[in-house]
C-alpha cells in the first residue's frame, strides 16, 4: 500500500510543469533542426534561378513541380542516374557490410579463441584511420588493377564497417543468451544455422542500426568517389550536386537545381528511416531469456 501511494505522488509531482518545460525545450530545438529542411522545400518552390529572394514562407508562384521536372531532365537525366547510383552503392554496400559486420561481431562475442582481443583491437583501430589516408592509397592500388573510374572502386571499399563489428559484438554479447545457443546445439543445430535462425533475430535492432548507419555513410561519401571517379555517369548524388554547385557561376539555374536536387536526394533516406524505425525502437531480444 505504502509503495503504490509513493508512485502515485511521484507521478503527480513529475507531470504538469516538467511536461510543459520538456515539450517547449524540445519544440525549440526541433525548430532549429527542421528549419533548413523546411527552407529547402520553400526555396525549391521559387521561380527565381539565383535564389536571391528566399524566405521562410512560400511567395510568388509555386514552382516546385516545374523545378523538379527541370532538375530531373537537365543534362539528359543525369540527376536520375546519380540517385540510382547512390541507391545501388548504398544498398549493396550496406547489405554486404551489415552481414560481414554482424558475423564478425557475433564471432567475437560468442566464441573464445586465442588472439580474440588483438583482432578486435585491430578492427577498432580501423575506425581511427583518416578518410584521406584510405582513399588516396586505394586510388593508387586500384589504378594498378585498372579498377579506378569503375562501379567497383566505390562499392568494394564501402562494404567494410569496423564500427558495425563493434556494435554487433556489444549487441550480440548482451542480447543473445548463451543458454539459448547451448540448447540450439543440443537440438543439433550447427553454429551457422544457430546464427542465421536464432541470433540474427535477436540481433535485429542492431542489424538494422548497422545497416542504416552504413547506408548513410555510403550515401554521404564524397571523398572516395571524388578521388576515384572521372565518369560523371558513375557519380553518386553527393558528388554530382557538389559538381553542379561548383559550376553554378556558369549556368544561371544551377544554384536552384542544387537546392531542388538536394531536397529530392534526401527523400529516399527519410523513407528508409521511417520504414525501419519500428525495428530500432525496442530491443527485440529483451524477453529472450525469460520465456
Amino acid at each position: 500500500m505504502k509503495s503504490t501511494s509513493t508512485i502515485d505522488r511521484t507521478r503527480l509531482r513529475d507531470r504538469p510543469v516538467s511536461v510543459l518545460a520538456a515539450t517547449l525545450f524540445m519544440l525549440a530545438c526541433t525548430a532549429y533542426f527542421l528549419l533548413p529542411l523546411w527552407w529547402m522545400v520553400v526555396a525549391s518552390s521559387t521561380t527565381r534561378g539565383g535564389l536571391t529572394d528566399t524566405s521562410l514562407w512560400f511567395h510568388g508562384q509555386f514552382e516546385l513541380w516545374t523545378n523538379i521536372k527541370n532538375v530531373v531532365t537537365y543534362q539528359d537525366h543525369i540527376y536520375v542516374r546519380w540517385v540510382l547510383n547512390s541507391i545501388v552503392y548504398a544498398t549493396l554496400g550496406a547489405t554486404i557490410g551489415t552481414l560481414f559486420a554482424a558475423m564478425a561481431g557475433y564471432g567475437l562475442a560468442k566464441y573464445v579463441f586465442p588472439g580474440r582481443e588483438v583482432v578486435f583491437n585491430v578492427i577498432l583501430a580501423g575506425v581511427l584511420v583518416p578518410a584521406t589516408a584510405l582513399a588516396l592509397p586505394l586510388f593508387l592500388l586500384f589504378s594498378k588493377l585498372d579498377l579506378t573510374d569503375t562501379f567497383w572502386a566505390v562499392l568494394l571499399p564501402s562494404i567494410v564497417s569496423p564500427f558495425g563489428v563493434y556494435l554487433a559484438r556489444i549487441y550480440a554479447a548482451a542480447s543473445v543468451p548463451d543458454e539459448l545457443l547451448e540448447s540450439a546445439r543440443l537440438d543439433g543445430a550447427g553454429e551457422f544455422r544457430a546464427f542465421f535462425t536464432i541470433s540474427t533475430r535477436l540481433m535485429a535492432p542492431a542489424l538494422v542500426t548497422i545497416f542504416l548507419f552504413q547506408f548513410v555513410t555510403i550515401w554521404n561519401n564524397y571523398l572516395l568517389p571524388l578521388v576515384m571517379l572521372q565518369n560523371t555517369k558513375l557519380y553518386p548524388v553527393t558528388l554530382g550536386l557538389a559538381t553542379w554547385n561548383s559550376q553554378k557561376a556558369i549556368a544561371g539555374n544551377l544554384q536552384l537545381y542544387v537546392v531542388v536536387g538536394a531536397l529530392l536526394s534526401i527523400v529516399p533516406l527519410m523513407i528508409a528511416f521511417l520504414a525501419l524505425q519500428r525495428f530500432w525502437q525496442s530491443g527485440l531480444g529483451e524477453g529472450g531469456v525469460k520465456s
Binding site: T6, T10, D14, R15, V19, A22, T23, C29, T30, F33, L34, P36, W39, A43, L51, T52, T54, F100, M103, A104, G107, Y111, V112, F113, V119, A125, G126, L128, V129, P130, A131, T132, A133, L134, L136, P137, L138, L140, L141, L156, I159, V160, A174, D178, P205, T209, Y222, L223, T238, L241, A242, N245, V259, S265, I266, F273, Q277, W280, S282, G283
Partner: protein, 305 residues
C-alpha cells in the same frame, strides 16, 4: 522489492571439444569481414606507410621525376610544416566549440526521449534524427545558402553578423556539423538507455525516485560507455573534418585550402606530391590514435568499471 533483475545464470557444462569447435566457428564467422578489412583497410594503410618513405627526385630542374628512397625525410617536412600544425590547432579549436554542445544536447535529448515526461516521442526522435539523413556535403551547401547575405531567408541575422567571415566561419561550420550529428549521437545514447532492464527503473520508481534522480543515478552511469564512444567518434570526426570546410571554401575566403589536416593531405596529393601526402596521413592517423587512446584510458575506469 521483487523487481531486481535476475542475476542467476545457468553455466553450461563445457564440452570436451569446445575449444576446437569455438576456434573453427570463429574463423568461419570472421573470415569474410577480415578478408575485406585486409584488402580495403590494412593493405592501403601499409601502402601509404610504404609510400611515405620515398621522395620525388628530378634530374635537373625540368628533368624526369622518379621516386627514390627518402627514409624519414618526408616526416621531417611534415614536422617542420607550419601549415599542418596550424590546421591541427584549427580542429582543436573546432572541437572545443562544437563537441561539448553536441554531446550535451544529444544526452539531454536521449534522456528526455527515454523519460515519461516527454510526449510525442516518435515525432521528436525522427525530427532530431532527420538531419542525419542529409549528407555533410549537402548540409554544408544548404547552410551555406542560409548563411550567405544574398540568399538567406533571415537577413536580419546574416546582415548583422558576418557568418562567413574569419571570426565566425568556424562557428558556422561547427553549427552545420552539430546539426547533422547531434541526432546520430542521440540515437547511440538512446539505444544504450533502451538496454537498461525495465526492472531496474521500476525498482527505483517504487523506492520513490523521481525522473531527475533516475536519470542522474541510474541512466547516466549506465550510458557512460555510450558517451565515451560518442566522445571518441567526435575526436576522430573532428580530426578528419573535410567535406563541410571543403564546401565552405567555395563561399568563404576565410577557409583556406589547408584549413583542416585532411584538407592539407588532399591539397598536397593533388599538387601532386603523393609521398608527402602519405606522410601527412600517417602522422594524422597516429595523432588520432594517440588522442582516442588517451581519451579512452582517462575515461575507462568510469566507463567500463
Amino acid at each position: 522489492m521483487t523487481a531486481l533483475p535476475p542475476t542467476t545464470t545457468v553455466v553450461p557444462p563445457a564440452a570436451p571439444s569446445g575449444a576446437r569447435r569455438h576456434r573453427r566457428a570463429a574463423i568461419g564467422f570472421l573470415a569474410p569481414f577480415l578478408a575485406a578489412f585486409t584488402l580495403f583497410y590494412l593493405v592501403p594503410i601499409g601502402y601509404a606507410v610504404y609510400q611515405s618513405f620515398f621522395k620525388v627526385e628530378r634530374q635537373g630542374t625540368f628533368g624526369v621525376a622518379h621516386d627514390v628512397w627518402g627514409g624519414f625525410s618526408q616526416y621531417g617536412e611534415v614536422f617542420s610544416d607550419s601549415e599542418f600544425w596550424h590546421s591541427l590547432t584549427n580542429v582543436a579549436q573546432f572541437f572545443l566549440i562544437s563537441v561539448p554542445l553536441q554531446l550535451g544536447l544529444a544526452l539531454v535529448f536521449a534522456l528526455l526521449l527515454d523519460s515519461p515526461v516527454l510526449r510525442a516521442h516518435r515525432f521528436f526522435r525522427l525530427a532530431l534524427f532527420a538531419p542525419y539523413a542529409v549528407p555533410g556535403v549537402i548540409a554544408a551547401l544548404m547552410w551555406g545558402f542560409l548563411f550567405s547575405p544574398g540568399t538567406t531567408p533571415i537577413p536580419s541575422i546574416a546582415d548583422r553578423f558576418d557568418l562567413l567571415g574569419p571570426d565566425l566561419v568556424m562557428f558556422s561550420i561547427a553549427s552545420v556539423v552539430n546539426w547533422v550529428y547531434t541526432g546520430y549521437n542521440m540515437l547511440i545514447i538512446y539505444s544504450a538507455l533502451k538496454a537498461i532492464p525495465s526492472e531496474v527503473i521500476e525498482a527505483a520508481t517504487v523506492d520513490g525516485a523521481g525522473q531527475l534522480r533516475i536519470a542522474w543515478s541510474i541512466k547516466i552511469p549506465h550510458v557512460t560507455p555510450a558517451l565515451v564512444l560518442t566522445g571518441v567518434f567526435s575526436i576522430i570526426g573532428t580530426l578528419q573534418l573535410f567535406n563541410e570546410p571543403q564546401i565552405f571554401r567555395t563561399i568563404s575566403s576565410a577557409v583556406s585550402s589547408t584549413y583542416t589536416p585532411n584538407m592539407v593531405v588532399y591539397s598536397t596529393s593533388s599538387i601532386p606530391n603523393y609521398h608527402l601526402a602519405a606522410a601527412y596521413s600517417v602522422v594524422l592517423a597516429l595523432i588520432t590514435c594517440a588522442l582516442s587512446f588517451t581519451f579512452l584510458k582517462v575515461t575507462q575506469r568510469r566507463a567500463f568499471q
